[in-house]
């Protein structure tokens, strides 16, 4: 990946962040912290990897994406709007009673959402089902999923981890957005899920640890997942919760809280400035 491509994807990542923050601000509700920590991963997957077509969102051969940490819907909606699945301005309707942009992803009403999610631990199992169906039907699509490090407290994640390895779902690649924070505090203090990498290795996954904000590292992990045979891939992505908005970074308090007008203006200013900086 050349520098121009990295810059392009980084700009998209900032646009994802801007849309996500706008959605949360408009709703005065939602989850900005985790939405900001996964934006680089989403930018890479949707703009440099996945075979999806907004004109044919239900195409049976498309790649699938499951946001197992469904509360980060603002980031997902933002990337889907950038991709052209629905108008960007609809992000402002997020969480409103007359909107198709539910608080957590709803596959029935939102173009581009491949699986309803939000109840933690369920999405990764659904991703396993999609991958299993591809294997059975001889389809070559791949399934991508993003989980949270806090989410790994759910026992069902480990059921899915057993299942994916048992059925050798090498067409499945999951990221853990390892931002180290959950609602009640640092993951290490609330319920320690470390070492995530060692655990998934023990569950017989192909495991890679990366800086989840480094496009080249994301690319390397994705390429590794694609050539790995016989095992699902787990990308443990070390990230910063709230990445890109100074006052939200590494703060539990911004897990599920909307910025006020002043805070919103500051977030937009910081993100726009950082995006502009890329062209300097």
């Amino acid at each position: 990946m050349d520098q121009a491509k990295i810059k392009e994807l980084k700009k998209i990542s900032y646009d994802i962040k801007l849309g996500a923050i706008e959605a949360v601000y408009s709703a005065n509700s939602g989850h900005p912290g985790g939405s900001l920590s996964i934006s680089d991963i989403l930018a890479y997957l949707y703009f440099n990897e996945m075979n999806v077509d907004p004109k044919d969102p239900d195409c049976v051969d498309r790649d699938r994406f499951v946001l197992s940490k469904g509360h980060c819907a603002p980031a997902l909606y933002s990337v889907l709007s950038l991709k052209g699945f629905f108008p960007r301005e609809d992000l402002k309707t997020f969480r409103q009673a007359d909107s198709y942009l539910q608080g957590h992803p709803d596959m029935k009403h939102t173009p581009g959402v491949d699986m309803t999610s939000g109840s933690l631990g369920l999405g990764i199992s659904a991703a396993c089902g999609m991958a299993l169906a591809a294997k059975y039907c001889g389809k070559t699509y791949r399934v991508w999923a993003v989980m949270g490090d806090g989410e790994l407290g759910e026992g069902q994640c480990w059921e899915a981890a057993l299942f994916a390895a048992h059925y050798k779902l090498d067409n499945l690649c999951a990221f853990v957005d390892d931002n180290g924070l959950q609602i009640d505090g640092p993951t290490k203090e609330v319920m320690n899920t470390e070492s995530i990498a060692d655990k998934f290795r023990a569950f017989n996954w192909n495991v890679v640890e990366i800086d989840g904000h480094d496009m080249e590292a994301i690319e390397a992990a994705v390429e590794l997942a694609k050539v790995t045979k016989g095992k699902p891939t787990m990308v443990v992505a070390h990230t910063i919760k709230g990445k890109g908005v100074s006052y939200m970074e590494n703060s539990c308090g911004w897990h599920g809280k909307a910025p006020n007008a002043e805070e919103y203006a500051q977030a937009v200013a910081e993100l726009e400035a950082a995006k502009a900086e890329l062209d300097k």
């Binding site: 596959m107 699986m115 369920l122 396993c128 089902g129 059921e159 299942f163």
Partner: protein
């Protein structure tokens, strides 16, 4: 009648899957380490490549089924005991299958107290109740092997989530395989009657027919209606028989809270208030024991239904 064949509905479920497997290539079967008990093993023998054991992880299995269904490529049947489907995996079914209205079929065996010796932890008397609260969920509770086979095919051909309630116990096969017709959501009048109407489901349908016979000897003419589809329930038929008889009895191998009795009462309370007696498990857990003794202890015999009919008629005549 003496040597009427007895087959468990779970047995018929396994056979139905195996037979349908040859007719339709668009479905797969998941199980959670209970293939020998749920009888999906019968399908597995014939179609090993279409059967996926998930091990003992019912929550994951429900979402794997959901994920398969999202692709539109295949219809999954997910099987385990009713307790671990409608009980343990309730939230997975609610959020992962019901909410997105995915085309998943849940084959739940070992429903009710007729599980017998395994006792309360494995006797699910609450599954109709939990499944009924999920918007858009279809619930089928077949009464015998013939009905089960027809219901499984109907579930496969229907696009949406279906919960199929099946039993462990071998029960009389009273439907005629050559003439039986299953229509989703439509109750079947097995015997007409004018004094009272018994709405029964599952293994209680046959018990209701026996109750009718004993009542006839006493000059009481009770209709017997098989409610194989508990949701959507046949409101029209329920109201029709309430109008016609004025005395209603429900019979189910399930808690009277949340099950068929509740469903019938809901219909009647809003459309045609009528005295109702509910025969079922009265807010209790089950226990280990031989099935006939349990059915007697928990008030699920033909005699209990007959007593219910008399009580309903007495309430009507008050």
């Amino acid at each position: 009648m003496a040597d009427i064949k007895k087959i468990a509905t779970r047995e018929a479920y396994g056979e139905a899957l195996a037979e349908l497997g040859a007719k339709y290539d668009n479905f797969v079967v998941l199980d959670a380490d209970l293939a020998a008990a749920t009888k999906t093993g019968t399908f597995k023998k014939k179609f090993p490549e279409r059967h996926f054991d998930c091990g003992i992880q019912e929550g994951n299995m429900m979402l794997v089924a959901a994920g398969i269904a999202t692709t539109g490529l295949l219809v999954p049947f997910a099987s385990t005991f009713a307790m671990f489907a409608a009980g343990r995996a309730y939230e997975q079914i609610r959020n992962g299958i019901g909410y997105p209205h995915l085309n998943v079929k849940i084959g739940a065996t070992h429903a009710g107290i007729s599980v017998g010796e395994d006792g309360a932890t494995h006797q699910c008397n609450e599954d109709i109740g939990t499944m009924r609260t999920i918007p858009g969920m279809t619930i089928i509770s077949p009464a015998d092997a013939v009905e089960t086979k027809a219901a499984v095919e109907a579930a496969l051909l229907y696009n949406g989530p279906v919960y199929i309630r099946l039993g462990r116990l071998a029960v009389p096969v009273f439907n005629d395989p050559d003439n039986y017709k299953f229509e989703l959501g439509k109750g079947i009048v097995l015997a007409d009657g004018s004094d009272a109407a018994i709405f029964a489901t599952g293994i209680m349908v046959n018990a209701a027919m026996k109750a009718r016979e004993s009542l006839l000897a006493e000059g009481i003419d009770a209709a017997v209606i098989n409610i194989h589809t508990i949701k959507p329930i046949d409101e029209e038929l329920i109201v029709k028989y309430a109008e016609k008889t004025g005395a209603i009895v429900t019979a189910e191998e399930h808690q009277i809270i949340g099950g068929l009795g509740s469903a019938v009462c809901e219909v009647l309370a809003e459309n045609h208030p009528t005295p109702v007696k509910r025969i079922g498990i009265k807010d209790k857990f089950g226990k280990s024991g031989k099935v006939p003794a349990l059915l007697e202890e928990y008030g699920l015999t033909p005699a209990d239904i007959a007593a219910g009919v008399k009580a309903a008629i007495a309430a009507k005549n008050k």
